[in-house]
């Protein structure tokens, strides 16, 4: 179980690194915005990233 979790963690880290440029762009966009637009963009970015990482196995499964 621990091994499986560790494996997922490594995969998630790799996938996040793959998304580095995209995340940089989104962070800059979020910091440039204010008010409701900033809230929505920030929240959407975090939620999408979490969903993206949680569905690693589903998307890469053979």
């Amino acid at each position: 179980m621990f091994k499986k979790l560790w494996k997922w963690f490594v995969e998630a880290l790799k996938e996040t690194l793959n998304l580095s440029w995209t995340l940089v762009g989104l962070v800059i966009a979020t910091l440039t915005l204010t008010g409701s637009a900033q809230q929505v963009t920030g929240l959407a970015t975090v939620i999408t990233l979490v969903v993206w990482l949680l569905t690693l196995g589903f998307r890469n499964g053979k």
Partner: protein, 572 residues
Amino acid sequence: MLRICLALFLLIPTPAFADHVPTQTPYDISIACDADGDTTKGDITVTWQESDGFEDSPPERYAIAFSNDNFVETNYAVANSTGWETALSYKSYVFTASYRETIFGTTADTFYAKVRADNDTDASYSEWTGIVSVDCDYGSIPTTTTTTTTTTVPPKPEPEPEPYVEPEPLPPPPEEIIVDVKVEGVDKTYTQADVNDGTIERDQERIDNEDMFGCFMTNAQIDRGDCVIIIEEEEVFEDDIIEEEIIIVEEKVIVEEEVKEDVENIFPEDDDDIFDILPEEIFEEEIIVFEDEILEFEELPIEFEVIEFDMEDIAPTVVVEIPIQDEIIEEVIDEEVEEDVEEVLDEPIQEDVEEEPELTEEEIAEEIEQIQEIVEIPKSSTELEFTEEEFEEAVEEYVEELETEEVIEVLEEVNDVGVQNLSQVTEETQEIIQAVVEEAIEDIEELTEEQIEVVAEVLQVEAEDVEIIAESVKDDEVIAEAVEEYVERAVENAEVENYTLADVVTEISYESFIENPIETFVDFNNLGDITVANIGDDMTQDQKEKAQEVVVPVILTRIATMAAFVFRRGNV
């Protein structure tokens, strides 16, 4: 290579070609008989859904067309009094049995309906929805049959046929229907609400102006200059006048009755000279006297039809057919647009490019002196100097005592020299100016439009944005801090061109993100108040422009990421 091209093709964001129209056609139309479950009234309800609100000219009202022969011969239209209110909400209109009895002569038939969204102000009208229909048998007389039997067996007591129940006397037709007018071949029925809000007058103005100037616009639009009016010098030829007179004599027979009625009103009854004239002479006089009035009717492209009504028809109806050619209107609009474009292009471009002349050092020094003369630096009443905290308190107290006019005077002087040139004033003066800016934002409700423009110039934003900033300061810590530190940061960034409040906001957002990244991204404050329609309403125009500049880098980074991904896959 092919895969890379394919990936780039898929990754480059293409704009969504949404069907963006000025006024959207209503959605989801339906029609039902006795929709409320009450079968005693026989109402027919037409229901439709309002648009999603993404349109330039939202409906000011809805026109509901109604027919009992699928709009082949009968075509009645009514307009409701309320326009667009809530996105995707449902609206309905009820055609009562009495109304159907009045216009169709029956309450039991197949009835058809369609709806259109109208914006009279912008002269924008949607397409008609599809036609919906319903069979409604309210008020139909049930058929009865009689049978005779010859058997000797005593007949069983047959159930008595249901007694025919006279339908309830129809209520009077709705009072709201005032006038039926045919526009573009469609009957348009005005309601009482239309009379109250002046819709009829505006429509009449449009008809008149269409006739006079070729523009289907209200007087207000004409006065505003929306219609290009070409005044042509008219040459009067005697032959033309003679022709008109001949036509009038021919038309005389048609309007004979009306003319006679008017004669009675205009000629005084006790005018013996007129009544002594022979009947033939009176006839000629009538033609001469009413020549002008008849000419007016001649000039209008309107056919008047006099419709006879029974006494039972309580609501009088006047049908006016107004032939309007869509193509001509479109051509006129096209010409107007072209002329406008030419005018814009003719304007000297240099005017927009011109920049304010930069102040010389001497001028800046003079302005700085003026600022320091106006701004009084609080001094300690004791021999000891202020500590930093004491000075801040003293400044706060001093600024609070300032009158609004004094605050604006200080800001005007700051504008004269420019915020970024304040590095030459003392730090104390800078702090006071900073406090004055904060004070002006806090008291935004007390400021006049001119004073707001002065504040906007200091912050280097649009005047409309000052109000947004004042609202945001109350619940957004980042913007509140940005306003507090604006003057200080503007002075520090004197070298930066076009340094505005939006830049300060971005800087403080970045600093806040470095301190606490999670809080910046996961902020649930007032999340429930956010709707799709109001996202971004609390951003200043300047901030929006700066945010747009970020979209391009985001797209580029996305492409770069996916390209790298494709390369890696290709090398495996």
